[in-house]
Symmetry: D2
Subunit: 336 residues, 4 copies
């Protein structure tokens, strides 16, 4: 952190800030020169630039390094590889998570599990709880779906990824799923993040609709600092003024995240696309940009789906997508 | 809802959609003309346009009315007036909620309570839990602050408004505060909203950083449909590309909300301002635009505040703000 | 400008930047301390932080002051008052510019001129050129409207404000209008800005749909540095994700601009509103926030308007708006 | 266009709209049913939904088809292939436009021309005019650069692509360049677009910082309807709240544009990246998403560049990028 004073700042103003910093337990160093400044030695992550700029005489406070600790590249330069049974996430082989938006019926679910397994997916979406904008929309089958999840897993061997909406569901689903997903609306639900930090299973953390990359990383920091280092970050489109797509896939977030953190980065092409004809291009872009995996919605009869009908792929479309993704993965030195 | 078919849509395609709608329990009406369309009689709030547009032959599905029920102006054309002790929210008299961003110490809190009471505030902020972007930032004093809350209330008689971050806190704070606040990050934390619907106290629901007005209203619908009709909506600035202010105060949301809903609308000028020199203009704009109240951050020594240092007003500044707001309130037919 | 080096930057890297700055004609000053930095004495407005951050060893370059010169508050702390005939813009009395979106016919135009004059407007909109998103939309009556402009001015004495879309129109309209408007789409049409800098008439410069406040000020700097200091800045709503209003009126821009510049600030409530029922609230908010004037669309029969039909006020509505605005203006120490 | 009336709309209100539409020259067809509506037969592109929604009794006006004519896929389903000398744009082979952000000196320019030619580029950037946010920034070498352009072209045979900022420059550069570029700030400079419609050379039209896909297509419609059908559309990143990249590359725009129009789509990875380490990922994503070409900034010594220093690639980096792009192009059935 560097705090730069206005040219006309008085000695007393500088002194005042200096002493306050000492009181707060920091080690300020005065830097004289054309414009007087104070540098802070050591960790200043708890200080906010806004707080410093509220002092009289301060022109600008500049954070030189983000407040990332456990998520930062420096913490683990070699990159994290998460193990989920036999699946390794973050290595050369790309992760493919697939399945329906919502678990609806046993038949719908188990048939989808078989189809995505056959096409090459390694993890199965297990959406039994659905966060919905309107209280009158379908809210998921809930625990009623547990036997169907079991059947799908028994038949295919695919580990299950379930979104949890609240702390209570973590315990409820503990024995029924293999990894958790935090949806976009809950990226800053800190209560939930802390509980997942103690949840003992890998977490797929989705970026909020208007979450910055920095906020996404600090949300991951909540999980990691609570004890769980198996976190995947998911770019799923952000909210912008453009309405031609459901959300704007921020493809640049992929290399930015790979630069800032050691955590694996997953791209969700289904939600930004909003309709199935756009999913393929976005999926290929995600792989080409360097994503470590994708999460894709697949349904036996999308038009009958209880949620996200327009963006789910049919079995055939998913199989074709997998075939198209293979050469793109190879082109960037990965495998699918 | 009207579903318009493409000019070249086949009869079979139209028939297919018609039957599906009937199966789902709706009452479709075929409308022939230049372009065939299907209108849906009665409540179609559970249908998504996206689902309908996924059918072959459909050109566009148009929702003619939003899925609002309890929040809608039609439900209560005369407007809601919430009673909080002697305070009436939504009537001629404007509501002024004030107090520090965070409860820090007994002295800081009680002195602020006295000052804002004296200046004319009717409700006291009681921020004991703080949602913070970084896990390493100050997270609020928590239950440790209960005695200070009591003392402040005993001395001033002001009812207390506390943000709750999770379901558990509702029960914990039940006997200590008078109304709840849902922060911007939690606008779509449905678990929390439902619990507040049964919480028995008025709720101030803040708009999310990238929440649409429609989503804000549907979030309120979650609370109301769970049993609690005492909801205030709060415009507190949205996230845009502009960084000259902390957030962009969407002043147009005030008349839009007054058009769509009977619920009181509160403006928070402190968070969009981000620095105290901008709070006054935004507060006056909020009142002039028709807000039913304001929520403002006040601190005995803002530069020492543990959070939001730059945007909190001093006691003197708050007193001056109240003086400046009075004639603006009168100019638009309100009282302060 | 301060350039901060990484803790591990080598002496050679620092030396390299230092010399490059000297070559470029700046006066760098080395500041040693916890983290080495270089401050630049004197004017560094031509340097971009991005350029500096491209050097090896540089951690961050921070501009301490924006590159504003002529537009800056420092340049003219007392505030600019523009004289347009008898009208004074930027003083205690608020400016009211009103008139139809487009000049359509003689009768439509002259009747509107009379009505807005009667209601208290001081300047008349004179939209003869219309920038339109589609080439197939009505593009304005063009020079054909000159006689109608003359008649309206002769009858009412109101000075005329016309949007110009290109350099050629400045000369063409020279003898027919009294001030120019730069529309939102042209905020960064530098060719046009420079020409208006030599145009000899006051300019109302509208903020672009996604223009930052900084870019707006630098656009004004283009006009001023070309010789014309009579510039008004106009906040007219920015493009965000919210679609409930046509644009999001950035009300916070009013106090920010008043802080940064001496130029008068005008608010356009018509375009962000998008429909007439919202214009009043936004207009009042603009005045309460401290705007020096408003620009409002008025039409004899809005539903027949050739452009912006939904947001234009009728004569009666405009008269009522003026009546409602008066007490708000007084409440903030202004006159209307 | 379909105009749906409110359930309580009176017959007189419906009749009124019907007659007005006839007066305006449209062919309205009344559609009775659950909710009365009026469909408009034939071309209704000149009508705005906003205008219709301003009538009493109208609940919603819905455009069923966008107002695209010449740019629409229907107009030319087979896709446009633009010929620029030997270069074919829009076919199987991808277009690579490369070169410095600004033409600076003869040596800088000619050496870059040689390097990008050698690496496989087919068109050379020829930035002699530079639109700059501040009037005090470097504004391009202007016509002084013509001899350098000639030399570069003579040596390499590469056709030249130059941004034009105003109508006058089209004539000035006519004999010196081979295709024109419209920069993001000028996407809606209709005067310029119309002039380019008569300019006789292919045009690369960049999307505005906050331009919607629809506005981009209508801007192209301006050029095409003025006589020039050789238009390429360029996605170059949009302005959002995220600041980790300079702009947010809207990768989803590529498939959306390919769906809506027959015009070739070019991706600019340099401007959204903002720094060279991110250019590669974005370039690969662009190709994988289906772009017909890329435009990339290359400079002999980026750190000495007079503009966009941080995002330009060195010669070696560009050569490496070309090598990395080849397999990605092949993976999606294209050549580079």
């Amino acid at each position: 952190m560097i705090i730069v004073f206005e040219p006309k700042a008085t000695e007393a103003q500088v002194q005042h800030v200096f002493e306050r910093l000492q009181e707060w337990g920091f080690t300020p160093v005065l830097q004289e020169g054309e414009q007087i400044s104070i540098a802070i030695t050591g960790d200043s992550s708890a200080l906010r630039t806004q707080t410093l700029e509220a002092f009289d005489g301060v022109q600008k406070a500049v954070r030189l390094k983000e407040a990332y600790k456990l998520v930062s590249k420096e913490f683990k330069p070699e990159g994290t590889v998460i193990e989920l049974g036999d699946v390794k996430i973050g290595g050369k082989k790309l992760l493919m998570i697939a399945g329906p938006c919502s678990v609806e019926t046993e038949e719908q679910y188990v048939s989808t599990a078989r189809a995505v397994k056959k096409a090459g997916a390694q993890v199965l979406r297990a959406g039994i709880y659905k966060p919905r904008t309107s209280p009158y929309d379908f809210q998921g089958v809930g625990e009623r779906g547990f036997p169907w999840l079991k059947k799908a897993k028994d038949e295919t061997g695919l580990p299950l990824c379930a979104e949890v909406l609240d702390v209570a569901s973590i315990a409820k689903t503990k024995d029924h799923v293999d990894m958790y997903q935090v949806g976009a609306r809950n990226m800053q639900n800190y209560d939930l993040l802390r509980a997942l930090g103690k949840g003992g299973k890998p977490v797929l953390l989705k970026r909020g609709l208007s979450g910055t990359i920095k906020e996404l990383l600090l949300a991951a920091e909540y999980i990691m600092s609570s004890g769980n280092h198996d976190v995947m970050l998911c770019e799923r489109g952000i909210r912008t003024y453009e309405t031609a797509t459901r959300f704007t896939l921020d493809i640049g977030a992929v290399p930015v995240l790979h630069h800032d953190t050691h955590l694996p980065v997953i791209v969700d092409p289904s939600h930004p696309a909003g309709k199935r004809s756009l999913v393929g291009s976005m999926a290929k872009a995600g792989v080409a940009a360097g994503a470590d995996g994708l999460i894709v919605e697949v349904h036996p009869e999308p038009e009958k789906a209880w949620s996200d009908a327009a963006q789910q792929l049919t079995f055939d479309q998913f199989e074709q997508l997998m075939a198209e993704l293979k050469p793109v993965a190879q082109a960037v030195g990965r495998e699918l």
